[in-house]
Amino acid sequence: MRAYAVCVYLFLYIPIGVIALFSFNAGRHASQLQGFSTKWYGKALSNPFVMDALETSLIVAFTSALCASVFGTMAAVALQGIKGPVRTAFDLLIYVAVMIPGIVIGIATLIGLVTVFDQLNPMIAAIWPNGLTPPKLQMGMGSLIAAHTMFLMALVVIIVRARLAGMDRALTEASSDLYATPMATFRQVTLPMIFPAILAGFLLSFTFSFDDFIIAFFVAGSETTLPIYVFSSIRRGVTPEINAIGTMVLIVSLLMLITAQLLLQRGGKKPK
C-alpha cells in the first residue's frame, strides 16, 4: 500500500520536477542535460512577448480576484441571512459553479458574450453621434476578467461562508445591542473577523486566474495571457525558456496557496 502511494506521488510530481530541473539546463535542447545555468530565466524575463503576456495575466488575475472577492463576500454575507429552500438552491448552484469544467464555462461565456455583443453593437452604433466611430464591444481583457470573476466568485463565497458559519452569532447581536447599526456592525465586527478568509479567497482566486488556460483560451480574443503564450510556443517545441517560465509560475502559485492556507488556519482558530 505504501509503495503504491509512493508510485502515485512519483507519477504526479516527477514531470513537475523534470520541468524545474530542465529550466536550469545550460543546453538548448530539452531532452538532454548539459550543465547548470540560469540563463533561460534571464532570457524569459527579457523576452518582450513573455513580458507582455505576463502583464496581461497579472492585470486579469488581480482585477478578477478583486472583483470576485468583493462580490463573493457580498453574496456570502447576504446568503447568511437567508434560510429554507432558497438557501438550499443557492448552495447547490454555488457548488455546481465550482464543479463545472472550465471548458464548459469557456464555451458558455464565449457564446453568451458574442451573442450579447452582436445585439448591442448595432444599437450602440445607432445611438452614437454621427461622424464619430462608435466603440465596438468585443472579446478581450474585459471578457476575460468577466469570465474569471464569474467562476472565482463561487470559490470566494464558499471560503467566506465557512468562516461566517464559524463566527459566533452572539458577536453581531452584542454589537447591535451596543447601539451599532447593521452597517456599523458589518464594518466593525463582521468584516474584521472574516477578513483573513476574504484575503485567502483573493489569493486563491489570483492563483486560479493566473494559471487558467482553458477559459482564457476561449474568451481572450486577441489578448495573450501567460498560459496561452506558453501553449502557443510549445507548438514550436519545448525550450528551456518555457521550463523556466513554468517553474516561476509554479513557485509564485505555491507561495500564494501556502499563504492562503495559513490565513485560513489562523483565521479559523478561535482565541479562547
Partner: protein, 373 residues
C-alpha cells in the same frame, strides 16, 4: 405560616415601572416559546427569570433586548411600546452567556464600543475617561490594552459587564452570566454583581436555571415553566408560599406526599394520601374536595426523634453538613424523604446511624397543600 415575618428587601410598589410585558407570546414555527407573559419590572430592582432550560426565560430576555419581536402582546420600555424597535435603538444592554466579547479588540476597545456608536460622536478623550472609570468599577484597572484571549473567564465576565454598564442602560440583561465560571468564582461574582447593582442603581434582569443564584441575588424571582410564568415573588415569598408543587420543588428542597382533599374544616385542610393516611396542612389557594394535591413539608421543618409522635421511619443515609445533618429516611408506605436536623438537636438526641428506627413529626400548619401540577 402567618407567624413568619417577611423582610422584604424590595417591593414592586416602591418605584415606577421601567419595563413591562403585556400578554406577550412568542411562537417559533410550531413551538410556543413564551405564552401570555404579564410582568412589570420596577426601576432599580434585581429581577430573575428562573426555570429549567426551554422554559422560555431566554426568549423573554431576548424580547426585552430587541432580538426577538413578540408574536402577540406588547413589550414596554419606560412606558412606551417597543415591539418593533430594533436592538440598536433600545436603551438596554446585555451580558451574554459566553460574553460575546469582540476577539479582535482590546479590553478598552470592547468596553468603549457602545460609546463609540453614539451619534453625534463623543470626543475621544471623554470616551477614554469613561472607559477608565468603568474599568475601575469592575476592578480591571491596568488591563485596558490586554487582548480578550489573555483574560481569564472571570476577567472576561467583568469586561462583558463593563461593556454593558458603561452605557448606563435602563435595563441590564444578564443571560446566565455565571454559567461558564467555576463554583468558587461564581459565588464571588454573585456578591460583586449585587454590590454593583446597588451602587449603580441600574435595573438588573437575570436569566438563570440555578435556583441558588436566583435566591441569593434577586429582589424578585419570576418562575417560568413551559413558556408560562408560574409565580412571581420575593425569594422568601416563593420559599414560604409557593403556589404549586412545581415552585416548591424548584425553590429549595421539599418532601411531597400526593393525595386528594377530603375535608376543609377550618384553616387547615385534610388530605387523604395514597396509603389511606390523613395529613393536614395549610392550603395555598381555594381547594375543592377530592382535588388532587400534594402535601409539601420542607426537610428543616421536620423533627427527628428517638421516641414520640409521628411517622415511624428507618434511617437510610446520613450526610453531615456541619450546621445541619441531612437524613434520608424511609417510611413503609410513603417511601423515602429527607429530614434536616439542626446541630443542637443532635447534641440532645445524639446522632442517628443508618438502620436506626426513628419518629418524624412536624407542625400541621408548616405543611403546605399545593396544586399538584
Amino acid at each position: 405560616m402567618e407567624s413568619r415575618g417577611y423582610i422584604e428587601a424590595f417591593t414592586p410598589a416602591d418605584g415606577k415601572a421601567i419595563a413591562e410585558l403585556r400578554g406577550v407570546s412568542k411562537r417559533f414555527g410550531d413551538v410556543l416559546a413564551a405564552s401570555d407573559l404579564n410582568l412589570t419590572i420596577t426601576e432599580g430592582e434585581f429581577l430573575s427569570f428562573l426555570g429549567p432550560s426551554g422554559c422560555g426565560k431566554t426568549t423573554a430576555l431576548r424580547m426585552l433586548a430587541g432580538f426577538e419581536t413578540p408574536t402577540e402582546g406588547d413589550v414596554l420600555l419606560d412606558g412606551e411600546v417597543v415591539n418593533a424597535l430594533e436592538a440598536h435603538h433600545r436603551p438596554v444592554n446585555m451580558v451574554f452567556q459566553q460574553y460575546a466579547l469582540f476577539p479582535h479588540m482590546t479590553v478598552a476597545q470592547n468596553i468603549g464600543y457602545g460609546l463609540r456608536q453614539r451619534r453625534p460622536r463623543l470626543p475621544k478623550a471623554q470616551i477614554a475617561e469613561k472607559v477608565d472609570k468603568t474599568l475601575d468599577i469592575v476592578q480591571l484597572g491596568g488591563f485596558e490594552d490586554r487582548k480578550i484571549w489573555e483574560m481569564s473567564g472571570g476577567q472576561q465576565q467583568r469586561v462583558a459587564l463593563a461593556r454593558a454598564i458603561i452605557n448606563e442602560p435602563k435595563l441590564l440583561l444578564l443571560d446566565e452570566p455565571m454559567a461558564a465560571l467555576d463554583r468558587k468564582l461564581r459565588k464571588e461574582m454573585q456578591i460583586e454583581l449585587q454590590d454593583l447593582q446597588r451602587q449603580l442603581g441600574i435595573t438588573f434582569v437575570l436569566v438563570t436555571h440555578d435556583q441558588e443564584e436566583a435566591l441569593s441575588m434577586s429582589d424578585r424571582i419570576c418562575i417560568m415553566r413551559e413558556g408560562r410564568i408560574v409565580q412571581v415573588g420575593s425569594p422568601q415569598e416563593l420559599y414560604d408560599r409557593p403556589n404549586s408543587k412545581y415552585v416548591a420543588d424548584f425553590v429549595g428542597t421539599s418532601n411531597f406526599f400526593d393525595g386528594t382533599v377530603v375535608e376543609q374544616p377550618g384553616p387547615l385542610t385534610s388530605v387523604r394520601l395514597s396509603n389511606g393516611m390523613i395529613m393536614r396542612g395549610t392550603p395555598t389557594e381555594e381547594m375543592s374536595n377530592s382535588e388532587d394535591v400534594s402535601v409539601s413539608v420542607r426537610p428543616e421543618q421536620m423533627t427527628l426523634q428517638r421516641q414520640g409522635e409521628g411517622l415511624t421511619v428507618e434511617v437510610r443515609n446520613r450526610i453531615f453538613l456541619g450546621e445541619h445533618t441531612e437524613y434520608l429516611v424511609n417510611h413503609e408506605t410513603l417511601g423515602d424523604f429527607l429530614v434536616l436536623s439542626p446541630r443542637q438537636s443532635e447534641q440532645t438526641e445524639g446522632a442517628f446511624t443508618v438502620g436506626d428506627t426513628a419518629f418524624v413529626s412536624w407542625e400541621d400548619s408548616a405543611a403546605l397543600i399545593l396544586d399538584r401540577n
